[in-house]
């Protein structure tokens, strides 16, 4: 066996050497150098398989051990490599294989990226946006509950409806999110808990309302309990959900943008092989053109270019959709949440009337007054960031609007706060709930509206850019496959034409 292996290795090396430095003549290489070959095929014409087929059963004697299929294949290949037609066949087969492999890898990698880009557009971004909506709807409901409570008998039907709509939206989006989460995952757990807490929260709000209607101050304590449940338990879970969905979005982005190195590398290798085959052809026959091989090379160049250009365009579109869409959307969502929380704190400060305090340095202050200031500060910084991210006037205008409404809100809040500090509670309350002159409620509503406009704009920008990116992949997988088949056919035909000269 070991002798055989040594000989095998030697022959293979010889074969390689022959391929690298092919002799100029078209005659067969000296076959005499291989005396141990079990079957020496006729120098011309006879194809490899029939020659090799009888080769293996030709030695059924117990002498040599049973031979593996690989060894037999290697033998056949070695046998084929001894003649030019055999070599041509091998070259043709390898070229066709490489080209088909290139096409397949390209099709696979590009359909992978196209799917990821489609996920960004139609799945992960909408889900991430849904998660943001759940958060927003919950925060909005909480704000509406506080505003409605403070307004008491003056609560407008629209306010009440807004609260109900928010609760419904949150519940609906939770169902969608649940359908898209994997069972047993952290997301699924958070969704289940939110589903449990939502009716509990609603119960607290309704109890608060009922008590308030009867004139019982315990209603304020219920509202505080509802607010605590929302701020301390539900919103953090909604935030987690949003973070997870955002991670999914990021990973889809990464998948879609990953450069198809395998396809590219293989493409370059295929082209090199085709060039080599044509050069070999030229060196042996002095013929410059082999139509089949030229077609194959052309098809491969097209696939390669398509691949590089298509992916670059898609990547640019996706980058654009992230930079001008997702990032802006995230910042605007933050701004909206800050505005909502500031508003609910503004209301709660007048509902709880000093029942909750916190230490700020040495000073004991109303917890909700402090909360309002913090949130307004966050709103201002989020708006500044959104302004720097907005890339056109259509995106900048609503942000600028929100900013000016926020400033008016701050000014009016100071007036309302001053009234309350002076003991004019009723006037302060009227200013906040919107029945007095220059109410803060109008400012909040306007900030919210402007932010919705900005969000819609950025969502459209995202959609446009991401669609552009995804569409750059359109046809690429199929095109690559078709062209690869064409190239393979070209290679086989081109080689076949040479081969026919031996018949």
């Amino acid at each position: 066996m070991s002798v055989r292996a040594a000989i095998l290795a030697a022959t293979m090396t010889m074969g390689e050497v022959e391929v690298t430095h092919p002799p100029k003549s078209t005659t067969a290489p000296p076959g005499s150098g291989l005396p141990t070959m079990p079957v020496v095929p006729p120098p011309q014409g006879q194809p490899v398989p029939p020659a090799a087929a009888p080769g293996s059963p030709a030695a059924p004697e117990p002498g040599p051990a049973r031979r593996t299929a690989f060894a037999e294949g290697a033998d056949k290949l070695r046998a084929a490599a001894t003649t030019e037609p055999g070599r041509l066949r091998i070259i043709g087969a390898l070229l066709a294989l490489l080209v088909v492999l290139f096409g397949a890898i390209t099709a696979w990698q590009m359909s992978d990226r196209a799917a990821a880009a489609d996920d960004v557009l139609n799945r992960s971004q909408p889900l991430s946006s849904d998660a943001a909506d759940i958060y927003r709807a919950l925060a909005d409901a909480n704000t509406a509950a506080a505003s409605g409570y403070l307004a008491g008998l003056q609560e407008k039907p629209a306010m009440r409806k807004g609260y109900e709509d928010d609760i419904r939206e949150a519940a609906d989006k939770l169902v969608t999110a649940a359908a898209n989460s994997d069972a047993g995952s952290e997301s699924a757990k958070a969704i289940a808990q939110l589903n449990e807490q939502l009716p509990e929260y609603k119960g607290l709000v309704e109890t608060a309302r009922a008590n308030n209607r009867q004139g019982f101050p315990v209603g304020g304590a219920y509202l505080r309990a509802a607010n605590e449940k929302m701020q301390k338990q539900m919103l953090p879970k909604a935030q987690d959900l949003y973070t997870w969905e955002n991670q999914r979005l990021q990973s889809d982005y990464a998948d879609a943008k990953a450069f198809p190195w395998a396809a590219l590398g293989l493409g370059v290798a295929v082209l090199a092989a085709l060039v080599w085959a044509q050069r070999r052809n030229y060196q042996r026959t002095n013929r410059v053109l082999n139509h089949g091989l030229i077609t194959a090379s052309g098809a491969c160049v097209v696939v390669l270019l398509w691949l590089v250009v298509g992916h670059t365009v898609a990547r640019a579109g996706l980058n654009d959709s992230y930079d001008h869409g997702v990032r802006s959307l995230n910042v605007l969502q933050d701004a909206r949440i800050a505005s909502l929380t500031a508003r609910s704190d503004e209301n709660l400060s007048l509902i709880r009337r000093g029942a909750d305090t916190q230490k700020v340095g040495d000073e004991t202050r109303d917890a909700y007054a402090v909360g309002y200031e913090t949130q307004i500060g966050q709103l201002a910084s989020a708006l500044a960031k959104a302004d720097s991210l907005a890339d056109d006037s259509a995106g900048q205008k609503p942000v600028a609007d929100a900013n000016s409404f926020m400033k008016a809100w701050k000014d009016r809040h100071v007036v309302a706060q001053g009234l309350n500090d002076k003991g004019n509670y009723q006037q302060a309350r009227d200013k906040v709930i919107g029945v007095g002159k220059d109410p803060t409620s109008v400012c909040f509503d306007n900030v919210d509206k402007a932010l919705v406009t900005a969000l819609d704009h950025e969502q459209a920008e995202f959609k446009q850019a991401a669609t552009g990116g995804r569409d750059a992949f359109t046809g690429l997988p199929y095109g690559a496959a078709v062209l690869a088949v064409l190239a393979a056919a070209g290679a086989v035909l081109g080689i076949g034409r040479r081969l026919s000269e031996y018949r």
Partner: protein, 345 residues
């Protein structure tokens, strides 16, 4: 106690009489020192009238000792400059600025169904009476909602003239603010559902979850009584920011009982017909009107108001209106139903 009383009296008389008074005292003291060494206490006593005996006792007592903090207020009959009251009367916005609670049902409360937005309750009635006596108009009041934790700060800083906000007179506080004579007697009490087996601050609390507010007397009492007056198995749940939050927990079934002072417990019971006060108060506390330590004239004025308020039946009428229904359990009259007797120092 008496040493403290003496020092406070000396301090307050000096302040109250102003510069001229102080000079007069200085002159008087000089005369006394030279001529009548034995009568010196009478010279500084003015009209307080407790005599030299208190002074003698005061010298023996230790400064830290403090009993009956509710009996440390200035007599309504005292004289002296009316600086504080004059300032109030001279205000452009001629109103008394009073720190109140706006969430204590039946005490100081803003009824959302009251379109005028006027506050109402037992404390508020008293405030109107005080304003009537000082400014001649019961409505001449600017109410400010002051959080429990800011009551003393608001009085000390002069943000408000007084705090009338179910504020217990205690030994720590009398060092920081001047209290009126007590206007309400109460004590820590247990509140539980009517159907509960709990009968009061006793063994029936075994294995029960009890709610109390942060930094409240109730929480301190619960901790101190655990293992002796009440069983060790009592579960004191995480304290809440406000006593009213305990009622939420009680209604939601998260706790079995609430401990707070009787007046606030009554306010909670008034909001839920399914709960009631269980057993008598197990501590003795008094509410007072808190004012600035320098406002002697105002303290005396408020004490005058309290005396006439109690004498003319105003107090009883207010009690009947706001508190009788929940505080007096059946035929058993609460200890709170009688106005506390005033003892001045």
């Amino acid at each position: 106690m008496n040493a403290h009383r003496l020092s406070q009296r000396l301090r307050s008389s000096l302040r109250g009489w102003g510069g001229v008074g102080a000079m007069a005292v200085a002159c008087a003291l000089t005369v006394v020192f030279v001529l009548l060494p034995l009568a010196q206490s009478k010279g500084a006593d003015g009209s307080v009238g407790t005599g030299g005996q208190g002074v003698a006792q005061g010298r023996q007592a230790k400064a830290e000792e403090c009993t009956d903090p509710q009996d440390q207020s200035l007599s309504p009959t005292g004289g002296g400059a009316t600086t504080t009251i004059d300032e109030i009367k001279a205000r452009k916005d001629r109103r008394l600025i009073v720190g109140v609670d706006t969430n204590s049902y039946r005490w100081g409360y803003l009824d959302p169904n009251n379109a005028s937005g006027a506050l109402e309750g037992f404390d508020i009635d008293l405030v109107h009476r005080i304003a009537q006596d000082i400014l001649g108009d019961p409505e001449a009041v600017s109410f400010k909602a002051i959080p429990t934790s800011r009551r003393i700060e608001a009085v000390e800083s002069g943000e408000v003239d007084m705090v009338v906000r179910t504020m217990t007179i205690n030994c720590d506080r009398i060092k920081q603010v001047a209290f009126s004579a007590p206007y309400f007697r109460t004590g820590q009490q247990v509140l539980a559902p009517k159907t509960s087996t709990i009968t009061g601050f006793n063994a029936t609390l075994a294995n029960k979850k009890v709610c109390s507010a942060e930094t409240s007397t109730a929480l301190d009492s619960l901790k101190a009584a655990k293992g002796n007056k009440i069983p060790d198995s009592v579960k004191i749940v995480e304290p809440v920011p406000n006593q009213l939050d305990c009622l939420v927990k009680l209604q939601l079934g998260e706790v079995d009982a609430v401990v707070t002072d009787g007046a606030l417990a009554a306010s909670q019971a008034a909001q839920d017909p399914a709960v009631e006060l269980k057993g008598p108060p197990f501590t003795d506390e008094y509410y007072g009107v808190a004012m600035n330590l320098k406002a002697d004239d105002l303290v005396r004025q408020v004490n005058r108001t309290l005396r006439s308020y109690i004498d003319d039946g105003g107090w009883t009428a207010s009690y009947a209106k706001w508190l009788h229904a929940t505080l007096d359990q059946g035929d058993k009259k609460s200890t709170s139903a009688t106005p506390p007797a005033a003892h001045y120092k």
